[in-house]
Assembly symmetry: C2
C-alpha cells in the first residue's frame, strides 16, 4: 500500500508517519520510484504498535525506539525478553537509588530479580514519595501489595506467547503498560466494593 | 510563620504558594498588616498535601481543587468519602461510555459499585485501548486481575483511618494515587520473579 493508505488504515496522519520514518521507528517502505514507496501489512502492524505505545501508553520516543530495536533483534528466552521490555518501559525515577528497605523487602518475599531492574529504583522512589505525603506504607502493607502483585504477574506471564519472540516482546511491553490503567480502574472499583462490603454503608 | 518560612519548610517557592492562594487551594493566612500574613502548621500540612497531589501524583489543579473542597466539607461515611475521593482523582477517559462487557464483569464479580463510578468508564476505555493494541484481555484474565485487585483494595481500605474524615479523605486520595506507582513497580518485579520461577531461565 502507499503511504496515504497506510495513514488511512492506521489512523495516523502522513505527517506523523514521516516523523516515525525520520526517527527510525518505522522501517522504510519498498521503493517504487524516487518519490513512491510501498508499505506492507508488517508496516501497518508496526504503526499500530508505535501508536499504542505513544498514545495509549504515553511512552517517550526514546522508549519506543528501545522497544523497536529489541523487536528487530529479539532475545531468545522469555526471562531475558522481560528484562529488555522492562528497560524499554517508561521508568519513573530511574535514577533514584535502591533503598535498603526495598532490597530487604524483595529478599523477604523470596523474589528473584536482577539487581539492575529499573523497577527497584521506581519502587524505592514511589515508597518515599507516598510516605513523605503522609501515606504510611508499613512492611505489612507492602507485603500485602506484593502478594497481590504476584497474582497479577501470574496472569501477565500466562498471556505471553511462547515461541515467537517478537510477538512475546510486543505483548510484554504493550501488555505491561496498557494493562496498568486497567488495574488502576479495577483497584478503584474493588476499593468501593470492599468499603461497601466491610462497613455496610 | 511568614510566607518565606512556609516556603522554606514546605520546599515550595513563594511564587508557587501565591499561585496556590490565588487558585483557592490554600486558605489565606491570618492578616497581620496590609502586606503580612501568618501561616500555621495546618497551612504547612495543606501545602505538603497539594504538592504531593500535583507533583507526586500528577493531578490537575481542578482535581486538587475538588479534593481540597471535599476536605473543607468532608462526608460522614467511609463509603461516601471513597466516592468523593474517586470523583476527585484523575480519571482518564471519564467521558468514555461504560461498555456492556465491563458491566457484565462487575456483575459477575459480585461487586457493589455505583453506576456513576468514574472507574467504570476508565476501565471500559483501558480495556478497549489495550485490545486495539493487540493485547487480548479475555474474561479469564480480567477476572484474575479483578481478584488480585480485591486483595490490593483490602490493604487499601484497612489503611484508611476511621473517625477523622479529613484524615481519611486525604489518605484515600493520596494513598490511591501515590500507591499506583508502588503497585506498578511491584508488578514489574513480580513479573520478573514469576517468569524466572516458571521458565527456570
Amino acid at each position: 500500500m502507499r503511504m496515504a493508505e497506510l495513514a488511512q488504515c492506521s489512523g495516523v496522519s502522513v505527517a506523523t508517519l514521516k516523523y516515525y520514518l525520520r526517527e527510525g521507528l518505522l522501517p522504510a517502505g519498498q521503493a517504487q520510484s524516487a518519490t513512491r514507496a510501498a508499505y506492507s501489512e508488517e508496516h501497518l502492524a508496526r504503526v499500530r504498535l508505535i501508536r499504542a505505545m505513544v498514545e495509549g501508553a504515553g511512552m517517550s520516543i526514546a522508549g519506543v525506539r528501545r522497544v523497536v530495536s529489541a523487536l528487530d533483534n529479539p532475545p531468545s528466552s522469555r526471562h531475558e525478553l522481560l528484562g529488555v521490555a522492562h528497560h524499554a518501559l517508561p521508568s519513573p525515577n530511574a535514577d533514584h537509588p535502591v533503598s535498603a528497605e526495598v532490597s530487604e523487602l524483595v529478599a523477604a518475599l523470596g523474589w528473584q530479580v536482577s539487581p539492575g531492574a529499573p523497577a527497584l529504583r521506581s519502587l524505592s522512589a514511589a515508597v518515599e514519595t507516598a510516605r513523605s505525603a503522609g501515606v504510611p506504607l508499613g512492611t505489612e502493607s507492602l507485603v500485602g501489595y506484593a502478594r497481590a502483585s504476584e497474582r497479577i504477574a501470574t496472569v501477565d506471564v500466562a498471556g505471553v506467547p511462547l515461541g515467537d519472540a517478537s510477538a512475546a516482546l510486543t505483548r510484554v511491553v504493550v501488555g505491561t503498560v496498557l494493562v496498568d490503567p486497567v488495574l488502576a480502574a479495577l483497584r478503584r472499583l474493588a476499593q468501593e466494593h470492599t468499603s461497601s462490603a466491610h462497613t455496610g454503608r
